[in-house]
């Protein structure tokens, strides 16, 4: 049953993404000032939102583990961090491509770029810490603490960019600006692609979660076998 659900979710995500790509490339017109390159934005911003949501959930799942001490939360936190990082990479890479065309440089030490990169590094550190601790209980406990620190730190890195002079374009979504800066058709497409990426993230999370749970099962069986011999 669960298997079929996963296949169904996967199929839905693929169809949705294909449909979105079709609209992005063939239906929507070029942007007035930027031309064709603005299309990376449909992956840039939704990728960032998906990654940020994953960071947030990783913090919540880790706190849940520390409160309940149920393995489920630890597996979920590990899985969602791993899922979040590729979306963060999508955000950084599309941003760099856009920067090369519009700014003429691949990378600039703009605070928003810097903070996105630092956040990715922090969560890569989280995954490294998990790898380094052999004992499952200690791994779950210590990495949960690290995830909570990581999230607090990500907020600080994000906030510090608002105080720093920034050359990153300002907010365009109508909920931040009150409307008028973005064509409704384009904003609608952004929402579509955000949902498609969230669907994909959900699918990846379900797969990674199952792997984590099975690995834990194998580990405990191995320990049991060793204790008999």
């Amino acid at each position: 049953m669960r298997e079929k659900l996963l296949y169904g979710l996967g199929l839905a995500a693929i169809l949705y993404l294909v449909r979105n790509l079709y609209v992005i490339f063939l239906v929507l017109p070029d942007e007035l000032a930027q031309g064709a390159i603005y299309r990376v934005f449909y992956f840039h911003l939704p990728g960032y939102f998906t990654a940020a949501l994953c960071y947030l959930l990783a913090g919540i799942f880790s706190a849940m583990y520390l409160i309940t001490r149920k393995w489920k939360w630890d597996s979920l936190a590990a899985a969602i961090t791993e899922v979040g990082l590729p979306f963060a990479a999508m955000n950084l890479i599309t941003g760099m491509i856009w920067g090369r065309i519009i700014w003429g440089i691949w990378w600039t030490w703009d605070p928003r770029l810097t903070s996105a990169l630092i956040s990715a590094l922090i969560y890569a550190g989280y995954l490294m810490l998990r790898q380094a601790i052999p004992d499952p209980t200690e791994r779950a406990k210590n990495s949960a603490v690290m995830a909570i620190f990581a999230f607090a730190s990500v907020i600080f890195t994000y906030k510090s960019n608002e105080w720093f002079r920034t050359q990153h374009p300002g907010p365009v979504l109508s909920i931040r600006t009150g409307g008028g800066t973005i064509d409704p058709q384009m904003e609608w497409m952004l929402a579509h692609n955000l949902f498609a990426l969230l669907l994909l993230a959900g699918l990846l999370l379900a797969i990674r979660w199952r792997q984590e749970e099975r690995q834990r099962e194998i580990e405990s069986l191995r320990r049991e076998a060793l204790s008999f011999s």
């Binding site: 601790i133 620190f149 607090a152 730190s153």
Partner: protein, 221 residues
């Protein structure tokens, strides 16, 4: 709890002053780095006042990593960590005591290395001494409170000397950026925005509260 924390801090300081293991290493590292950086960045250059503050904080953060690394690792010998856990000292006091000891050791190293920095890079901090001292204290606390926490998290790892800097440095970037901006303001004589002080104070309060709250979880099995 304060009394217990102070006991732990005094124990750590006494141990450090007798063995001087991380004190000597951190102090010579700072001097070596200050000399090395003088080859990469010309201290006689026109714009040296713009970047020398940043360089100082890089050197200090390297020294900080060395010191906090030993904080919990020191207790592994003879199972001292188990004894500390079994003692009636609450975990939060144990953590705070260790953080305070690291803070005082690192402050000592920083203040000792400061004249060397001023001489090598022809810098005067006397323009706004109190701003600099406040920056020094707030940033050093940020480095030690986060560093001591991660020292506790990584104490049982084989690769702890490698893991600690990899995990801690990215998280320390906001306070270090604030410290660099404030120090540049002191050196060039054009005061930096006070928003950096707010960032430092906010960082210190939030991470101290988090660390004290989670010390119980980290230090008990």
């Amino acid at each position: 709890m304060i009394a217990a924390a102070w006991q732990i801090a005094r124990k750590d300081l006494r141990q450090e002053l007798r063995s001087k293991e991380s004190l000597n290493a951190a102090l010579s590292l700072t001097v070596v780095l200050l000399i090395l950086f003088s080859f990469a960045f010309d201290p006689a250059a026109e714009d040296s006042k713009q970047w020398s503050g940043g360089l100082l904080w890089l050197v200090y953060s390297f020294a900080g990593a060395l010191i906090v690394n030993r904080s919990f690792a020191r207790e592994l010998m003879n199972d001292c960590l188990e004894a500390l856990r079994a003692s009636p000292v609450p975990s939060s006091a144990l953590f705070l005591g260790k953080a305070v000891a690291c803070f005082l050791i690192l402050m000592g190293v920083e203040l000792t290395a400061l004249p060397a920095f001023c001489i090598f890079y022809d810098v005067s901090l006397l323009g706004a001494p109190w701003t600099f001292i406040a920056t020094l204290a707030l940033t050093t606390w940020a480095v030690t409170v986060l560093g001591t926490m991660f020292s506790a998290l990584t104490v049982n790892l084989h690769m702890r000397e490698l893991m600690l800097p990899v995990l801690v440095y990215p998280m320390l970037i906001p306070p270090l950026v604030a410290a660099i901006e404030l120090t540049r303001g002191v050196i060039t004589g054009e005061p930096a925005s006070e928003i950096w002080f707010r960032l430092l104070i906010g960082f210190d309060i939030i991470f101290t509260a988090l660390a004290v709250a989670l010390a119980e979880v980290v230090l008990t099995d």
